[in-house]
């Protein structure tokens, strides 16, 4: 209740601040929050951003400067952030004839920085468990380390080992890394202020990298039997000889598995973020349409629902990280098939 009262008060302030200045554009705000940026907002201050390095290879070679030089709309060393139909919000190089081109952009953007923060967090978490074992030997961990160990134990002992059996020591490091990385990125995405707040797993680029790596892990560990089942499966000859129908479907299956992983994680996480954002924006949309009183009432409902959604997203963060890991494990175990005589 206190939270809701505070929120209502905050809304009044915000409404006064926004009143008559700008029209609320929900789509723009949503994409701004879900998308990438060249600077990182510092908490509770929309205008001040932490500058991040921009690394770009334009027509004339590599350029490297801080993002604070261009985020306010200036042009620096021929680069500016474009606004418009093409390359909206992206770094572009202004050529001599006035046209713009997109450079090879390896900037440390907000998302890249967030990825690094998450990677560091994962390293810290995992090393806290490792150091506990190094220091205390066989003693059971306490507090936070115990929670981490519980998760590791759940993922490894209850999931990876029963599925992969004797192969598990080989693949467990990859799968555990994937799990903790995804989990951290999911949860950090739910933290709205500075070290978090980047929508990483709700970005197709991030999930694509994970899915592609999983694709290679699956197919590079494939046994002869695995490839035989793809290229020459045990089906009636007519289904594979003149026209390779079954092999075609099997090869398609090779690609749909990681694509499903990629899209599932992306859609779940982005959906969760988007629902929360829309609920928040409802306050401003309604107050714009019906006045401050309705907006105030909406605040209470929106906050309650958004809180519920965030709680749900926390659960979804765990579930999706787990689902990605367990499906990767299952796909790997399917690639490790041994020849089996008893099945026709």
């Amino acid at each position: 209740m206190v939270l809701i009262a505070l929120a209502a008060f905050g809304y009044m302030r915000a409404a006064q601040h926004h009143h008559g200045t700008t029209e609320v554009n929900p789509k723009e705000i949503i994409y701004e929050h879900l998308g990438d940026a060249y600077g990182w907002e510092i908490p509770f201050c929309h205008d001040v951003r932490i500058p991040l390095p921009i690394i770009a290879k334009g027509e004339d070679g590599w350029h490297c400067f801080m993002s604070s030089r261009v985020t306010s709309g200036e042009t620096y060393e021929g680069f500016r952030i474009n606004h418009g139909e093409e390359y909206n919000g992206k770094l572009v190089q202004v050529l001599d004839d006035g046209s713009v081109s997109r450079p090879l952009d390896l900037s440390i953007t907000k998302n890249v920085a967030a990825i690094m923060v998450c990677a560091l967090l994962v390293i810290m978490m995992v090393f806290s468990v490792r150091n506990w074992y190094r220091k205390h030997g066989m003693k059971a961990p306490r507090k936070g380390t115990a929670v981490l160990e519980l998760i590791v134990d759940y993922v490894y002992t209850d999931t990876i080992r029963p599925i992969l059996g004797k192969h598990s020591p080989k693949y467990a490091p990859y799968l555990l890394t994937v799990f903790f990385f995804i989990l951290t990125m999911n949860l950090m995405g739910l933290v709205v202020i500075f070290p978090g707040g980047a929508n990483l797993t709700g970005n197709l680029a991030v999930t694509m990298v994970l899915a592609v790596i999983t694709f290679f892990v699956i197919n590079l560990s494939g046994t002869r039997e695995y490839w035989k089942e793809i290229l020459w499966p045990d089906v009636p000859l007519g289904l594979k000889c003149p026209a390779p129908m079954m092999p075609f479907i099997e090869i398609l299956g090779m690609f749909t598995k990681p694509v499903a992983l990629m899209v599932r994680l992306f859609a779940n996480m982005m959906g969760g973020h988007m629902v929360v954002l829309v609920l928040m924006l409802l306050i401003f949309i309604f107050s714009g349409m019906f006045g401050a009183a309705v907006g105030g009432a909406t605040t209470v409902f929106s906050l309650a629902f958004a809180l519920f959604m965030l709680a749900l997203d926390t659960l979804v963060s765990f579930i999706q990280a787990y689902v990605f890991t367990i499906l990767s494990t299952i796909f790997i175990s399917m690639a490790l098939v041994e020849p089996h005589g008893h099945e026709a």
Binding site: Y31, L34, G35, D36, N88, G89, K90, L104, D105, L106, S107, I108, T109, N111, V112, I115, M116, A119, V122, I123, V126, F127, V129, R130, Y133, R134, M138, A140, E149, V152, D153, Y156, T157, P169, A172, P173, Y174, L176, T177, F181, G202, N203, L204, A205, V206, M208, V209, L210, I213, M270
Partner: protein, 165 residues
């Protein structure tokens, strides 16, 4: 729709970050953590098995101790019975020996008493006959001339007296 068109820079950095993360963790952390966790699980399993075994041993030990105690009691009873038997035996033997010894002693005493008795009888008879003869000699000195005949008579009377006694 930036979300659906993967940005090359982000893909690149994500790939680099993930590879670094994987290399660091796979080399330094995960194998050690997994090994430690499995070792601890083994240790706990072993601990439980050990405790169960120890409990079984303890139960066995109690039964064994009871058994030993019972055996010891049995032995003690046996020893006591033997000892009692031996004591009785010794007493019995001693008694028998003492009886034999006593009999011997009394027999010897009997013999010596008999001898002494005979000796003293002889002595007495001789003395009595001497005294009687002296008395008779004194009484009959005058009218008895034949000494030899008189002595035979006295002897004859003495024999009569002795047989009467």
């Amino acid at each position: 729709m930036e979300l659906f068109t993967p940005e090359f820079g982000l893909v690149f950095w994500m790939f680099v970050a993930f590879l670094c993360l994987y290399c660091i963790l796979a080399k330094l952390a995960w194998p050690f953590i997994i090994k430690s966790m499995e070792e601890r699980a083994d240790l706990i399993d072993k601990g439980v098995a050990y405790a169960q075994e120890a409990k079984a041993n303890l139960d066995n030990a109690k039964a064994e101790a009871d058994h030993l105690l019972a055996e010891a009691r049995q032995q003690q009873a046996d020893i006591l019975r033997d000892a009692a038997k031996m004591r009785n035996q010794i007493i019995e033997d001693a008694r028998g020996e003492a009886a034999v010894e006593a009999k011997k002693v009394s027999e010897a005493a009997m013999v010596s008493i008999e001898q002494a008795k005979k000796e003293s009888e002889k002595q007495l008879r001789r003395e009595v006959s001497e005294i009687a003869l002296q008395i008779a000699e004194k009484v009959l000195r005058k009218n008895v001339s034949n000494d030899q005949a008189q002595r035979e008579l006295v002897d004859k009377y003495l024999n009569e007296v002795e047989t009467k006694n």
